[in-house]
Amino acid sequence: MKTIKEKHSLVMRWTHWVNFPILTVMIWSGMLIYWANDEYKITIFGHTYVRFFPDWYYNLLHIPARLAEGMAFHFLFMWFFTLNGIFYVAYTIISGAWRELVPQKKSWKEAWLVLLHDLHIRKMAPPQNKYNAAQRIAYTAIIVMGIGSVITGLAIYKPVQFYYLTWLCGGYHFARIIHFALTLGYVFFFVIHVVQVVIAGWNNFRSVISGFEVVNTDAPKKLAKDE
């Protein structure tokens, strides 16, 4: 028989879906800003492999020559990004949800087993509660990254008033590089995240909107009878 199993709280669902468009706007407006001084590239032994970003990419997204507009959007949505993040972190702490989220000692080893399982190399996945070990690491890392974006952002935004943050981030240049790299990290996270959600299927996806999963309780009963 089908039963409803509560999974995600309203706060978790709210902050998750609010964050998605905000982060999208932040990344887009960040690119409008970055265009004005696009100096980052990946060069190994004198050969440039990746230049951020190629001209066709800039033109496709209508990025060139919109620095002032990019800054204006960025410095409005930074508030929403930060407040939404604070709301989520405060909620996980107060509700105790952090216990399901923060990696445990065994998570590091288990995450490897989860990866092997996901890649169909290993048959059995380690037992888990709400989140498996790899999820614990990923969902905690993404919060740490978010905090990193806010701190490096402030370090670039007010490097004189918040000089200690700029110092903490290894200086103005390095803070800007981390700020940029974290953004690449979000894109990487997003791709993996979406693939995983697609593989996990409808029941899992629905739980992030409606909050519950449908569990079929017949299966364990039958097992009991067979015994």
Binding site: K2, A68, A72, F75, K158, Y163, F212, V214
Partner: protein, 262 residues
């Protein structure tokens, strides 16, 4: 024989299914409505009217309001004790980057150049470069930051704005909220909040790398204000005025933040 368990089961199952459907309907419905509302909100922000150009211009109206609100918030963190990091002279760039020459592209009449300071009394001081050079000189080697995102360690020399104010008896003027500076041809102009102008590292510079300013770097006198982006560091200052209202500002008219503080 009827089994009471089996008769009960479908009923319970139907009830659960009903509840699942109901909750799905509510949650997905809410999700869709909020999603459409968010998209609509974004659209209206993205297409919101551009402000009419006055002291500021070129920005979407709601975004300009946000810039001004953010300014108020971050001004709480401003302090004269927060100094820009300084470097040894040896680290200063030999080839100092030059981005634009707006307002200083006409020929400089160095002999007739005077710094005009409009006092509250209506009196206008006409100060020569030699007078300014006779004041105590301050050297500053710091990381100059452009709004575009680049920065460069540069070495500037000149008189601190606070020293300048003291020498010329401009204390009453500094009780006002803003300082405005303009090039002689009025082609470039900046507005500065008084706190930033009176910051101990704000200087009226006449030297770069121990040499008199070349024309491209704002000869004969330029503003170096490390608590602002480069856009506020006016080259070839022609006049200085004081006001309780924001003086006009070249880049604030082009959609940039009026404050542009670091």
């Amino acid at each position: 024989m009827s089994n009471p368990e089996e008769e009960k089961k479908p009923k319970a199952e139907v009830a659960v299914q009903k509840q699942i459907n109901r909750r799905n309907f509510i949650s997905f419905g809410t999700f869709a409505v909020l999603g459409v509302a968010a998209f609509g909100g974004w659209k209206s922000l993205y297409n919101s009217a551009i402000e009419t150009t006055g002291i500021t211009g070129g920005a979407h109206k709601p975004l300009r309001r946000a810039l001004n609100k953010s300014e108020l918030f971050f001004r709480n963190f401003f302090s004269n004790n927060h100094l820009v990091k300084t470097y040894p002279k040896s680290m200063a760039a030999k080839k100092v980057r030059q981005n634009t020459n707006i307002g200083s592209d006409s020929k400089l009449d160095a002999d007739n150049w005077r710094l005009q300071v409009k006092k509250l009394s209506g009196e206008v001081l006409a100060i020569t470069l030699d007078e300014i050079k006779s004041l105590p000189k301050t050297d500053l080697v710091f990381d100059f930051k452009c709004v575009e995102g680049w920065d460069q360690i540069q070495h500037w020399g000149g008189v601190r704005f606070v020293d300048f104010v003291e020498h010329f008896g401009l204390e009453p003027e500094t009780k006002l909220n803003y300082v405005g500076m303009e090039t002689p041809d009025k082609g470039y102009y900046v507005g500065l909040d008084m706190d930033s102008a009176m910051h101990p590292q704000t200087i009226l510079a006449y030297e770069v790398n121990d040499m008199p300013l070349p024309v491209g770097h704002g000869a004969p006198l330029r503003l170096i204000i490390p608590v602002k982006y480069g856009i506020k560091n006016l080259k070839r200052i022609g006049s200085i005025n004081f006001s309780n209202h924001r003086p006009h500002d070249y880049w604030a008219e082009q959609g940039y933040d009026y404050y542009s503080g670091l």
